[in-house]
């Protein structure tokens, strides 16, 4: 069992390394270096070649890419992502508070989404083919088809413009108190939750239906085990196990959703920071945010793997005994 866990952990580290390589390639090698990305054509037309070379030297970009990558990665693993190009502010300082704010909102969303999706998925799966299932299936397809930004904007129109219950735009600073942010998190959270509940519950429904059709459910039924106990004791664990990895990837979806709602509502998180960084072509900030997002996803995947190892005895003995 522990061998299996160590194995998955090493694999996760490998994936993170590959992510780092990829992030670096996409931003600093293929399009040229950080400066090439940063400078617009207008900038280049007013600067002399010497100016540019001097700037390149100041930024430490006049060394070969592998060395720059090594410098960047060795900083990144301890949370040091370098400085912004324009103001030379440490990137850690810029993203620290937004990161916490985003994590707070993301955690709220995940904690609400999971149980709701669970109940809906299991209910629809159990009543497969009945009216409940048809209604739920239709609702979930519509739920994940409507873009986050549309749901968010429409919620604003309804609850801020037509019925002025909430402010249309959140006004809060990066270092606002968590409780202050919690108070304004309702509409952003609902926006992301709608789509993700729809998605996850469909996933769980499929897992549930597959398990309900299995031989062991039939044996339990023919042994006189009450339905309630069959669902809770036999089916639920078996239907969750195969969806755990997909749930971990779902975190990646929440992150994408967060970026959108933060922009819609003006919530002071990483999304706002990211869009600003892309606009001002602050390469290092984008790198840092992308890398941190991947760390979170890989970490959640690792947790899912551990949960599977703990829950599924077949996987446990398969990886440790073979």
């Amino acid at each position: 069992m522990f061998k299996a866990m160590i194995r998955r952990t090493l694999l996760s580290v490998l994936i993170l390394f590959l992510v780092a390589v990829f992030v670096f390639l996409a931003t600093e090698v293929l399009p040229g270096d950080a400066l090439d990305v940063y400078l617009s054509e207008d900038d280049v037309s007013v600067m002399t070649l010497e100016d540019i070379e001097e700037m390149r030297h100041d930024l430490g970009l006049d060394v070969p890419a592998p060395i720059r990558f090594y410098t960047w990665l060795s900083g990144a693993v301890v949370g040091d992502f370098g400085f912004t190009i324009v103001d030379k502010i440490p990137i850690g300082d810029i993203i620290f508070h937004p990161l916490l704010n985003s994590l707070q909102l993301g955690a709220i969303i995940t904690l609400i989404t999971m149980p709701i999706a669970f109940v809906i998925g299991a209910t629809a799966g159990y009543w497969r083919g009945h009216r409940t299932d048809a209604v739920v299936s239709t609702a979930t397809i519509i739920g994940y088809s409507i873009p986050d930004f549309v749901i968010g904007t429409v919620l604003i129109i309804i609850f801020a413009v037509w019925i002025p219950l909430f402010p249309a735009v959140i006004i809060a600073y990066n270092d606002a108190h968590p409780l202050e942010l919690l108070a304004v998190s309702l509409l952003p959270a609902i926006t992301v939750i709608i789509g993700h509940v729809a998605h996850l519950s469909r996933l769980l429904r499929a897992g549930f239906i597959e398990t309900m059709n299995s031989d062991f459910v039939e044996r339990a039924r023919l042994s006189g085990v009450p339905e309630r106990r069959i669902v809770l004791r036999h089916v639920l664990p078996a239907s969750v196990i195969p969806t755990l990895n997909a749930m971990a990837l779902y975190v990646a979806g929440v992150l994408s959703g967060l970026i959108v709602v933060e922009k819609v509502f003006g919530y002071p998180g990483l999304g706002i920071e990211l869009i600003e960084a892309v606009d001002t072509r602050e390469v290092h900030v984008v790198q840092a945010i992308a890398f941190l997002g991947a760390v979170l996803v890989v970490f959640m995947n690792l947790l899912a793997d551990f949960a599977i190892i703990a829950l599924d005895p077949r996987v446990r003995s398969h990886v440790s005994e073979r």
Partner: protein
């Protein structure tokens, strides 16, 4: 005294394409007395599994009981409320399903799954249920019940799992026990142990049994009365010995005559010995194979498996002859076939074909060598590309091996189909549109497109119904004689091997335990394992005791 009275029972399934109902069980009536054992026999698709479930007022998803009565102990259970039926199931009527591995909940230990039944029906406390379960395990001859209790289903062997399921079914000492092909997923020798156990338990507890099976010989062993089903209807009924000795209907006669019997006389004498002077076509010398792991992160953490899949196997096959390679699952017989055909390379030893070594895998073999050795696989459907018409399935190898195409290739394909007693109309069909027997005949025809010198048959009949088996074997033998090809016939079924093989090699755990002229091996088996296999095939109980001393694998 009648325990179960089934009257004109009809069960149907929703047909998703037409939206209507298709009858799977069509007006079946029968009675079972207390303590009686009734066998229900039929080939795949005859509705016997559906019938078995309907006896407990249960249908699989999409199924519905559309008519008739199931009177259990004086009460039509089809009229009961869900809750009342639930109380009957597991306590007064119980079922042993076909595959014990998938029928036990994989994420629960096996002990608690039996406790559950006792706690529900007998309202036992946790401790009392545990003790009762251990006692049941002991009663089903499970070694070390305490240990088994704490294991997960996959950690037990097939035989152990089926004993666990039987223990669960008998937990509340039901009046009626329905067994749905309880030994089909097991090896022959294990099957015999389980059967013997069922018989003992029945005699001890006086339980009435309904035994569902495709295997007529089993009913001869365990049942008093037998129903033969076909297309959802009962076509023949009587005592087991009646049906066996004097079947009334054509279908019954065909079914009985088709059984490959181990004790049957071989029709033709075996002309083996004098040919030995010639050089053998296929020579297998000290062949060993070990599954090795390729380099990966996994391999770093997992030590190499030491067990050899094939361990020092030697035999020779003469031109035009047939060797039967017999053994249970895991005996290495399919590995031998895979090595000969070139899907795997041997770890040690040599395989020679027509005097030249052929240890290399297929891509290093010459086209001519690949052509001369052909293989027919176990599952006929999966061996034909579902997206290709039969025509292209048969003409493709003709093009590759002989450069034939167009009408010439088509004519040759038709000729081969005719050898297999199939009509040329099939050329335009897709494999899924054919029956299992037809598919396997097409697969055999495809192997013979290459005009092979050696044909490997890997369990070619085990996926087929008995009535189809006999026909396919006859055709196979016919085309083999016509083309003069030698055949390496791999099977777990001794009866089948006896019909086709001149010589027989018995494998156990990768090793040859006995080899020789088929008749000698069958009439005077020397090795205990061969004796055991034969005894199991003959349903002889005296030999079944031998198996109890034989080691049963501890994990699957």
């Amino acid at each position: 005294m009648t325990l179960l009275d089934v009257r004109d029972l009809q069960v149907a399934y929703h047909n998703p394409s037409s939206g209507g109902l298709t009858l799977a069980v069509d007006g079946v009536s029968f009675k079972v007395d207390r303590g009686e054992t009734l066998g229900i026999v039929g080939e795949s698709g005859c509705g016997k599994t559906t019938l078995a479930r309907a006896l407990m007022a249960y249908c699989r998803p999409g199924g519905v009981i559309v008519g008739g009565e199931v009177v259990f102990d004086g009460q039509n259970i089809l009229e009961l409320k869900d809750e009342q039926i639930r109380e009957l199931r597991g306590s007064r009527m119980a079922m042993v399903p076909q595959d014990p591995l998938t029928s036990l909940t994989y994420h629960m230990k096996v002990g608690p799954q039996i406790d559950e039944i006792l706690r529900i029906h007998q309202k036992l406390g946790a401790q009392a249920a545990r003790l009762a379960t251990l006692k049941l395990f002991d009663g089903t001859n499970l070694p070390a019940p305490e240990k088994i209790y704490g294991r997960y289903p996959h950690e037990n062997s097939g035989g152990q799992r089926q004993r666990v399921v039987i223990a669960g079914a008998l937990a509340c000492e039901p009046d009626l026990l329905i067994l749905d092909e309880p030994t089909t997923a097991l090896d022959t020798t294990t099957e015999m142990q389980v059967l013997k156990l069922v018989k003992e338990l029945r005699d001890r507890l006086g339980t009435a049994l309904v035994y569902i099976t495709h295997d007529l010989t089993l009913t001869d062993y365990i049942c008093e009365n037998v129903l033969v089903m076909r297309d959802g209807k009962v076509v023949e009924r009587g005592t087991a010995s009646q049906i066996f000795s004097a079947p009334q209907t054509d279908y019954g006669k065909m079914l009985v005559s088709a059984i490959p019997r181990v004790d049957a006389d071989i029709a033709e004498p075996t002309p083996a010995a004098e040919k030995k002077t010639e050089e053998a076509l296929l020579k297998v010398e000290h062949l060993s194979y070990r599954y090795s792991q390729r380099w990966s992160i996994e391999a770093l953490f997992n030590p190499q498996e030491e067990q050899l899949a094939v361990d020092d196997v030697s035999f020779e096959l003469q031109r035009g002859e047939t060797i039967g390679l017999v053994g249970e699952s895991g005996s290495g017989k399919s590995t031998v076939a895979n090595i000969v055909v070139g899907l795997m390379a041997p770890t040690m030893g040599t395989v020679s074909f027509d005097g030249a070594p052929i240890n290399m895998i297929d891509k290093f073999r010459s086209e001519d060598l690949r052509r001369r050795i052909q293989i027919v696989f176990q599952d006929p459907l999966s061996s034909l590309n579902p997206r290709c018409r039969i025509e292209s399935i048969l003409t493709r190898p003709l093009k590759i091996f002989f450069g034939m195409s167009g009408p010439a290739a088509r004519d040759r394909a038709v000729e081969l189909l005719e050898d297999m007693e199939l009509s040329a109309d099939l050329l335009k069909r897709f494999p899924r549109q054919l029956s299992g027997g037809q598919q396997q005949r097409v697969a055999i025809a495809r192997a013979f497109t290459a005009k092979p010198d050696l044909i490997l048959c890997d369990e070619v009949t085990s996926a087929l119904d008995v009535s189809v088996q006999a026909h396919v074997l006859k055709l196979l033998k016919g085309i083999q004689v016509k083309t003069g090809a030698a055949c390496l016939f791999i099977s777990h079924d001794l009866g089948v091997v006896k019909q086709v093989a001149n010589e027989t090699v018995v494998l156990q755990k990768g090793q040859v335990v006995e080899a020789g002229i088929t008749r000698t091996v069958f009439d005077h088996p020397k090795h205990t394992y061969t004796q055991l296999l034969l005894a199991a095939a003959l349903r002889r109980e005296d030999y079944a005791d031998l198996t109890l001393s034989a080691p049963e694998g501890s994990s699957a």
